[in-house]
Amino acid sequence: MAGLIVSAQDVGYAYPRAPRDAVTDVSLEVRAGAVTILVGPNGCGKTTLLRLMLGVLRPDRGSVVLDGRPAHEWARRAFAQTVGVVTQREEPAFPMRVRDAVMHGRYARMGALAAPRRQDEDAVGQALARCDVDHLEDRWVDTLSGGEWQRVRIARALAQEPSILVLDEPTASLDVRHEMDVFELTVSLVRERGLGAVVVTHQVNLAARFADVLAVMHEGRLRAVGTPSDVLTSELVDAVFAWPMRIEHWRGIPQLMPLRKDEQA
C-alpha cells in the first residue's frame, strides 16, 4: 500500500500487574503525507498506544510494524533515523545552546567520536531555519520561552531527517498563539515534505481543524477513525468525553463546545 509507514494490527497490551488492558484490539495505520491526530480523555490509552508504536513497549497481542519490521525489534539508532519524536517531557540536566541541542538530532547519523560533518551542520542549519529558530541558535535553551523550546525540539526532530514525525502533547502548556504556531508548523512540514505525522493532544477542536485522520480513543479502545466530520458525531462525543457538549460547525468542521451545568437541555 502506497505511503503506509506504521501499521498497528489488533494490538493489545497490559502493564505488568495491571488488572486490565491499557490498550485493547487497536488497529491504526499512519500514512505518509497525512496528519494523524490521536485524541481522548485522560487515561484512555493514548500514551500507551504511542509507546507501542514507538517500539518502547512490546505488544502482548497483535503487531506494530514500521517499514516492514516489528517496531520493538528496531535498534534505537535505526529507529531514530526513521522516526523523529518530540516527547511530552524533557528536562535537560545541564545548560546547552540551541544549536548544540538541535545537533543531538544528528546522533543516529554520526560516528561515535567524529566531529560533526558538513552534512550534519547543514541539516541542523536547515532545520533551525525551517522552524524559525535560527536567530536563537546561540541562546541557552533554559532562557527560551515554552513556544520557542517546542520549535527547537521540532527542529531537532527534523534534523534526524525522519520519514515520520511524532509529537506527544506538544502544546500542553502553550498559549493560543504558540499552540497554533506548533500545529501550523507540523501541518506545513507534512504538506511540503510528504512526512507522516502523529500528534497526541487533548485539544479536540484544534485536532478537528488540523487532522487528515482523527482517531478517538476511549477506555483502551479505538472508538472511531476517519475525517473529523465523520468521527465527531454527537453519539461518539457523548460516549467518550463524559460531559455534555454542543457540536457547532466552523467551515464544515465540527467544533465541540462544553456546556455549563445550567445550559444543559
Binding site: 505488568p16 518502547v56 534505537r76 539508532r77 531514530a80 533515523q81 517531557r89 548544540d100 567520536l113
Partner: protein, 322 residues
C-alpha cells in the same frame, strides 16, 4: 589551543613533582637518572619511587574525574561523585575487616578493599533493579547511601573491637596515599583501567543524550537501558580499583568535572578527556603537597584534596547559580 595548554601544564606539573621530594636531588641529576645514568641510588629514587608515584597519581586522579563526569550524566545531577554510590563504604569495610582479622599487608588490604567495593557495587546494582526491569538512577543513589551507611556501621563495630594500632593503620590507608606506588601497581592499575576508560570516552555522545532525560535519549537513538547499566559497571569498577591502589580520595571526581563544565561546557566529547587530564594533574599536585608540606611526615592525600576541594567547590556552587 586549550588542549595544548592543558597538555603542557600537566607535563610541567609532573616534571616538578618528579624533581621535588624529601631527598634533595638537583634537576640535572634527576634528568640523568631518568635516562638511567648516574648514581644507582638516585636512579632508583627517581625511576622507581617518584616517577611511578607521579604516574599512578595522575592515572588515579584522571580515572576519578572521568568517573565523576560520567556518573553526573547517569544520575543527571552535577553533584554526583564516584563515592556517592556506596563504594567508599564497601571498600572501607573491606580494608578495616582485613586489618582486624589479621590479613593485612601490602596486598591484603587493597585486595580486601577492592572486594568490599565490588560487593557494594553488586548490592547497589541489585537494589536499583529491584523495582522492575529498568534501572532507576534515583534508586541507585538511595541504594548507594543505604549501603554506604550500613558498611560504615559495621566498620564501626570492627574499629570498636580491634586493637588501636591496627585500626589506625587501616584508617590512614583509607584516607588515601601513593606511598605504595611501584611499577607493578602502576602496570596493574593501568592495564585494568584502560578498558573502562576507553568505554567512557567512547560513549561521550550517548552521555550527552542521557542528560536530556531517558525518554528523549531513547527517541534520539540511544539504547538507554544498556547504556545505564554499562555506565554504572564501568564507573564502579574504575572507582573500586582506584580505592584499592590509593585509598579513598574525595573531591577530585566532584570538583574537576564541575569546574570543566563551567569553563568548557557540558559536551562529553570534550568533558571526558579534559576531566582525565585535569583530574590527573590535580592529584599529582595534591600528592606533591601531601608528601612535602610536613616532610618527613606524609599527609594522607585525601586530606589534601578535601582541603583544596571544599573551598573550590563552595566557589563553584556560588557561581553555578549565576
Amino acid at each position: 589551543m586549550r588542549w595544548v595548554v592543558l597538555g603542557v601544564l600537566s607535563l610541567v606539573v609532573m616534571g616538578v613533582a618528579v624533581v621535588v621530594g624529601p631527598a634533595p636531588i638537583p634537576v640535572s641529576d634527576v634528568w640523568a637518572a631518568l635516562l638511567g645514568r648516574g648514581d644507582t641510588v638516585i636512579v632508583g629514587i627517581v625511576r622507581d619511587l617518584r616517577v611511578t608515584r607521579v604516574l599512578l597519581a595522575f592515572l588515579v586522579g584522571g580515572s576519578l574525574a572521568v568517573t565523576g563526569a560520567a556518573l553526573q550524566a547517569l544520575v543527571r545531577n552535577p553533584l554526583a561523585d564516584p563515592y556517592l554510590l556506596g563504594l567508599s563504604g564497601g571498600a572501607g569495610l573491606g580494608a578495616v575487616a582485613a586489618v582486624s582479622l589479621g590479613i593485612g599487608g601490602a596486598w591484603g588490604v587493597p585486595a580486601a578493599a577492592f572486594a568490599g567495593a565490588l560487593l557494594a557495587i553488586v548490592v547497589v546494582y541489585r537494589l536499583a533493579l529491584a523495582a522492575g526491569h529498568v534501572m532507576d538512577p534515583r534508586v541507585l543513589l538511595l541504594g548507594g547511601v543505604v549501603v554506604g551507611a550500613f558498611a560504615a556501621s559495621v566498620m564501626g563495630a570492627f574499629i570498636a573491637l580491634s586493637p588501636a594500632a591496627e585500626v589506625r593503620s587501616a584508617m590512614v590507608w583509607l584516607l588515601g596515599g601513593f606511598s605504595g606506588a611501584s611499577w607493578l601497581t602502576l602496570t596493574v592499575f593501568g592495564g585494568y583501567a584502560a578498558a573502562p576508560l576507553a568505554f567512557l570516552v567512547g560513549v561521550s555522545r550517548p552521555l550527552d543524550l542521557l542528560t536530556l532525560g531517558e525518554e528523549p535519549a531513547t527517541m534520539l537513538g540511544a539504547d538507554v537501558e544498556r547504556l545505564k547499566r554499562a555506565l554504572y559497571v564501568a564507573a564502579s569498577l574504575l572507582t573500586a580499583a582506584a580505592v584499592a591502589v590509593a585509598g579513598i580520595i574525595g573531591f577530585v571526581g566532584l570538583v574537576v568535572p564541575h569546574g570543566i563544565r563551567m569553563v568548557w561546557g557540558h559536551g562529553h566529547r570534550q568533558l571526558i578527556p579534559a576531566a582525565f587530564v585535569v583530574g590527573g594533574t590535580l592529584l599529582v599536585v595534591a600528592d606533591l603537597i601531601a608528601r612535602t608540606a610536613f616532610a618527613p611526615l606524609e599527609m594522607p592525600v585525601g586530606v589534601v584534596t578535601a582541603v583544596i576541594g571544599v573551598p573550590v567547590f563552595v566557589v563553584l556552587i556560588r557561581r553555578w547559580r549565576d
